[in-house]
Symmetry: C2
Subunit: 162 residues, 2 copies
């Protein structure tokens, strides 16, 4: 049972253009061809295709994935290197998630600000709002933002004093 580029594209939720682009970039050298040069994807190719798609989702560039697939094709002598690449990317993804969660906190804070402002009819409602009037989680986020902006001042003053 073989699959065409369009079928594979549909399964991976990518465009056929993108599959051919990845192929051109050397990410799909393991895919066989028929006598006319058409790619024939096999059942057993899907795990590897899925891994490649996952590495992409994990934020690896095509160049990085290319380097990784070259190591894969080189065989057992490169296992340690491949492990290192995967572990590095793991760390990178964990960092990305942390960063997104911080950004999410800011969005939660803004959501609360706008909900209150919408109720009041004006954003001026926040001009002199005491922290006690904020929900605890919002207050925590605002505190974190304030600390960051204070750091800015602090750094500046330090720089000015030297």
């Amino acid at each position: 049972m073989y699959y065409t580029v369009c079928e594979v594209a549909k399964r991976l939720n990518l465009s056929p253009h993108t599959i051919r682009f990845y192929s051109k970039e050397g990410l799909l050298d393991f895919v066989e061809r028929d006598q006319n040069g058409n790619r024939i994807f096999k059942e057993s190719d899907f795990e590897r295709l899925f891994i490649i798609a996952s590495l992409k989702r994990a934020g690896m560039s095509i160049k990085q994935i290319r380097a990784f697939t070259l190591l894969c094709d080189k065989g057992d002598s490169t296992i340690a290197q491949r492990l290192q690449i995967i572990m590095n990317q793991r760390e990178a993804v964990e960092e990305q998630i942390t960063e997104l969660q911080d950004a999410l906190d800011v969005l939660k804070y803004k959501t609360w600000l706008y909900e209150v402002a919408l109720e009041a009819g004006t954003t001026a409602v926040h001009d002199h709002m005491p922290p006690e009037d904020m929900p605890p989680n919002i207050r925590r986020i605002k505190e974190r933002i304030r600390r960051l902006t204070d750091d800015m001042e602090q750094c500046y003053r330090n720089a000015a004093n030297t």
Copy 2:
């Protein structure tokens, strides 16, 4: 107390080029200028700068942030629209985090595969490994990957039968 582009860049962990680029794109129209046309950033500008940087980190494009800042400058009549934008982006970030966590699972699975293969000296160690020999969390991830690749087959068979 005023701040220059370079100082602000340092605080936001961006390059001065990037700050000027954002300015050119209309993200910093609220920043005042001195008599020579130099940007003068004030203490009170930092929260807004931080929000813009957060929206960027949340994955909004410059165009989207531009649209948002235009609404901000328009005043209280746009609060509901701004709230909607923030809530939409919140959802987008939550999706991004979910996707990254899925990618992370795949990386954890691959880490385990390579650790075992490194010990054995060959990736062939996995060719006939029974699921019982895998740690439960790894088995769960492998199951999820298998289900996804099986979906591929399933979809194909369905398509072939119609």
